[in-house]
């Protein structure tokens, strides 16, 4: 949660609207 | 060529993976976000034109969308890997980072570190009867 908040505040919320979501299935380490 | 700036951030981070942490590249991150906005705005224009009947713009739209996804991935990877280094430093240096390390963190990274400290401390207090400092004695004794 801490990390996601960080990504949102630093980067995601400044991106175009359709790119602001962090997709868990794509970003979870394999 | 697009996505060059974000690649510079990745290369810069890769070079510093020997344990040192370079200063947070705020300028670099800002430039990447600006590039993303420009790509997105151009795509909006082309999509509107396509709806109005203009043909042949699909390649451009797809190209810019791919660049946007690439920028997003690389930017998030830059942030993720910096947090990973900072997290390791907590286990190595303790809850107070050396001044020369701390000065290379952005304000948001300092906030992240503070919250991470609290989470870790809270978890360690919950272990056993009196808590357990997991960051001590990480190597087994000689015996």
């Amino acid at each position: 949660e801490n990390s996601e908040t960080h990504y949102k505040n630093v980067a995601l919320r400044h991106m175009p609207a359709n790119l602001q979501i962090l997709q868990q299935d794509k970003t979870a380490p394999k | 060529m697009f996505c060059e700036k974000v690649l510079e951030l990745i290369r810069e981070l890769k070079r510093s993976l020997d344990g040192t942490l370079l200063p947070f590249n705020e300028d670099g991150v800002r430039q990447v976000l600006e590039e993303m906005k420009a790509l997105y705005d151009q795509n909006q224009t082309d999509v509107s034109a396509t709806v109005e009947g203009e043909r042949g713009l699909f390649s451009g739209v797809q190209f810019r969308h791919t660049c946007l996804e690439r920028n997003k991935r690389c930017l998030l990877a830059y942030l993720f890997n910096r947090l990973a280094i900072i997290r390791n430093m907590r286990w190595e240096f303790g809850s107070v980072l050396p001044a020369d390390v701390r000065q290379n963190l952005s304000e948001q990274e300092v906030q992240w570190f503070t919250k991470y400290n609290k989470s870790l401390a809270s978890y360690m207090r919950s272990l056993g009867n009196d808590g357990l400092d997991l960051t001590q004695d990480r190597k087994p004794p000689k015996s």
């Binding site: 970003t27 | 060529m1 290369r11 042949g56 451009g60 797809q62 190209f63």
Partner: protein
């Protein structure tokens, strides 16, 4: 693939040869060998892997991909003859990682490339292991010069475990 992995991101920056299937208006800057503003169908050029993947979806193929030179039959024969003499860093430097990524395009040669990647790794592994375990206090750059990035990280991991064992023995 690991979304946040730096090696993965860098290996996807390697170039692949492509041929355009649809016109690409106002994207002429992608073709370094031409000054045209637009790219016509049938144009051959090189694009980074990540971009070629984005333009090569099953739904609408803007470009089609060809196998890069170092993974084709001619080079595969060299690897079969003696994989140890090849400078994979010069061909790479993410030879295995990039080669594995190419398999997603399902080209005719993909099966052969997959087998070649595996066999090349097997043929070179023994020497990497021996060198890393027997080069404790000496300059290692000559031993790692021709290794690709994955092999170099294996070499480092092997050396690290040797140092750790020594430290444990003399603790």
């Amino acid at each position: 693939d690991n979304y946040f992995n730096l090696e993965d991101i860098l290996s996807s920056q390697e170039k692949v040869p492509v041929k355009t299937e649809l016109p690409m208006f106002r994207l002429g800057f992608l073709n370094s060998s031409s000054d045209n503003e637009h790219i016509l169908p049938g144009t051959k050029m090189e694009l980074p892997f990540w971009l070629a993947t984005g333009l090569c979806s099953r739904k609408r193929k803007i470009v089609s991909v060809e196998m890069p030179k170092f993974y084709r039959a001619g080079y595969r024969e060299i690897f079969t003859a003696d994989a140890n003499v090849v400078d994979l860093h010069k061909l790479g430097p993410y030879f295995y990682s990039f080669g594995t990524k190419l398999l997603c395009f399902e080209l005719n040669e993909s099966d052969d490339v997959a087998k070649s990647l595996l066999q090349t790794f097997i043929d070179r592994f023994r020497r990497i292991m021996d060198n890393s375990q027997n080069a404790l206090n000496q300059e290692t750059s000559k031993l790692t010069d021709k290794l690709d990035e994955m092999e170099r990280s294996l070499f480092r991991a092997s050396q690290q475990s040797l140092f750790d064992f020594q430290k444990w023995e003399t603790r």
